[in-house]
Amino acid sequence: MKISGAELFVKALKAEGVKHLFGFPGGVVIPVFDVLYSEPEIEVILTRHEQGAVHAADGYARSTGKTGVCLVTSGPGATNTVTGIATANFDSVPIVCFTGQVSRSMIGNDAFQEADIVGITRPITKHNYLILDRGDLGRILKEAFTIANSGRPGPVLVDLPKDVILEKGDDEYPAKVSIRGYNPVLKGHPNQIKRAAAELKKAKKPLFYVGGGIHIAGAVEIFHKAVEKTGVPVVHSLMGTGSIPGDDPLALGMLGMHGTYVANMAVSHSDLLFGIGNRFDDRATGNLSKFAPEAKIVHIDQDPVSISRNVPVEVPIVGDARQVLDQLLPLLEAPKIDEWLEQLFTWREEHPLEVKVGENGDSAHLRPDDVIQSICRIFPDAIIATEVGQNQMWASQFFTFRHPRSLLTSGGLGTMGYGFPAAIGAQIANPDRRVVDIAGDGSIQMNIQELATAVYNQLPVIVAILNNGYLGMVRQWQELFFDKRYSSTCLMRGKECPPECTGRAEGCPMYHPDFVKLAEAYGAVGLRVTKHEEIEPALREAGKIKDRPIFIDFIVEREFNVFPMVAPGAGNTEMMFSEGGQS
């Protein structure tokens, strides 16, 4: 039977089990939206910006492991997806992004709403396609879904010219495709696995260092078994958060720039660093010449490119984290590490992450870490999305993650404006779970238009805005490294402000914009919290609402910093614990 390209597209989505499509229509993709209009099995979520659509598909994918799907129009619709695609690419998130394109005969003619999106996204996708032959459509759609969610997952973009969408042709959607240039290695090399097990057994100061790959591979459960069997302690990267319950005695927390004291000390003194699904990112390693100076390194990763890129690896193992751990588990033996553990626990006690509420007998000042801990207390099983900056670091430090795939954060690209749309995607995928976006007042304004999406889809996403009136992380760097010259970081700076601001003055507003009114204007609920005593009641009230988003505007201490901190370029043991304080 001959069907249109648009009909085959929808057939492919159904065959892939796609239930939700995040999109925004436009000229050339009207025929596709037209087919979707009468398709009961696929719900189209209309975002208010194409970037929001991609981030939502990303949050959907990260929280479930399923492929997120979006559909946008040509030209500006396509270019608006770029930040979302790059975000997903960096963090290995399976997304298939369909963009409309002008008709084949118009390509290259600078037609209305034409953009070479395949050229633009080549370096930020796992793979991309421009379909020039209606006969290839079925195969390419299948390839796109296959590539996106296998091996090291990533975004795939498919550019659909309007006349390909309209052309009648083959109705076949293949059940399987083989791509000769694409054969991800899943099983680890048996000899390497034996070596890894032997190294772990004889180590005196071993340490697991886990990253996001462990969530992607679905290896959390088997990893717990490995930890249980060996008793080896664990540090994690930001993306590895939740790979071991944060309150497990062997969980030492996150390493790196804003990692815990114990995690950074552990890495710096370890004699065997056992990496799984991590990539030795610069925010985690700090100064490479001072990173893990005494350690042999074992590294399991799906992507050979990640291995021996930043640090030399003694035992490289390419493979899927779950399959490799499956092979490894029977060979593992517990090393004798009582002294090591004792040392680690001493370090942990020396500098724990703790919240000192009302330190100065002043409970009026609202501390952001206090807010996060309260969110953790009231919604312990929530999926947490974050924006980027101080809010992201506090979320990772003070929320005790106990479940895999529960922290949605732009780790690699560091995309402000990611969290809220990602939370929307996650809420759609997980209607029975509480989803909280931890935001700053800067970040939230980067995709605030998605309030409408959340309202119209009746999504009870809670957005906790840690409102300090600053682009806080940049301001923190300016405070510490640029002599407190707060250039372009005060969000309330106006024409009347003196050239060199010295902090809040008489005429400064308390906050701007009024997020409570803004939420209400969209039909959402807005709450404001200004002191410690109000945190819990506000969260409880928000928790009762099930049919629309809730903005909670936490007016926090303006110049509260994220500590500990390893200054850029410093080694991981050179941690600051307060302004000017060093260990």
Binding site: P123, K126, L130, L132, G181, D303, V305, S308
Partner: protein, 184 residues
């Protein structure tokens, strides 16, 4: 160190741009790249010459392997292999200089493709070094234009797989002396 990578790739649109983009985007050093069809019209062979220390070359190979349109990457540098480049060179040649130029061309086994009123076009094949030398020798005649193909390369037939008769082997060694390989 210079490496020659020989790749089999899908004959898809944009594949050359994926490779070139990988090099520019990641700051790798690409010296030359050539592409041509193989006996299978769906497969293109791409030969590229790149520079870098061992770590960089290792990353380049891994990154290329990661590209989905690339079927196979072979680093020819550690393997016994043949490397050739072709160049077209247009030199100024007054009538009284032609004889000399013919003689120089003969030494380098270059062919004369065209003789004009006061120019000649020469074609030469060989290692990149030989072409460099040829160009250097032609400098006194004033070179108008040079077009070089970039390197194309192939691994030698494996000895175990197809042992060569004694005399043929001698011939090939002689050939090798004539065209000293400048790679690596």
């Amino acid at each position: 160190m210079t490496h020659v990578l020989s790749m089999l790739v899908e004959n898809h649109q944009g594949v050359l741009s994926r490779i070139a983009g990988l090099f520019s985007g990641r700051g790798y050093n690409l010296e030359s790249i050539t592409a041509g069809i193989t006996t299978d019209p769906q497969i293109t062979r791409i030969t590229l010459v790149c520079k870098g220390d061992d770590n960089v070359i290792d990353q380049i190979k891994k990154q290329l392997n990661k590209l989905i349109d690339i079927i196979k990457v072979t680093d020819l540098s550690p393997l016994p292999s043949l490397h050739r480049e072709l160049a077209l060179i247009k030199v100024r040649a007054k009538t009284n200089q032609r004889g000399e130029i013919f003689q120089v061309a003969d030494v380098f086994r270059a062919r004369v493709l065209d003789v004009g009123l006061d120019t000649m076009v020469l074609e030469v094949t060989g290692s990149s070094e030989k072409i460099d030398n040829f160009i250097a020798v032609l400098q006194p005649y004033i070179i108008r234009e040079v077009a070089r193909s970039g390197l194309i390369s192939m691994e030698r037939g494996r000895k175990q797989a197809s042992p060569q008769p004694q005399q043929r082997k001698g011939a090939s060694e002689k050939l090798n002396d004539d065209f000293k390989i400048s790679i690596a």
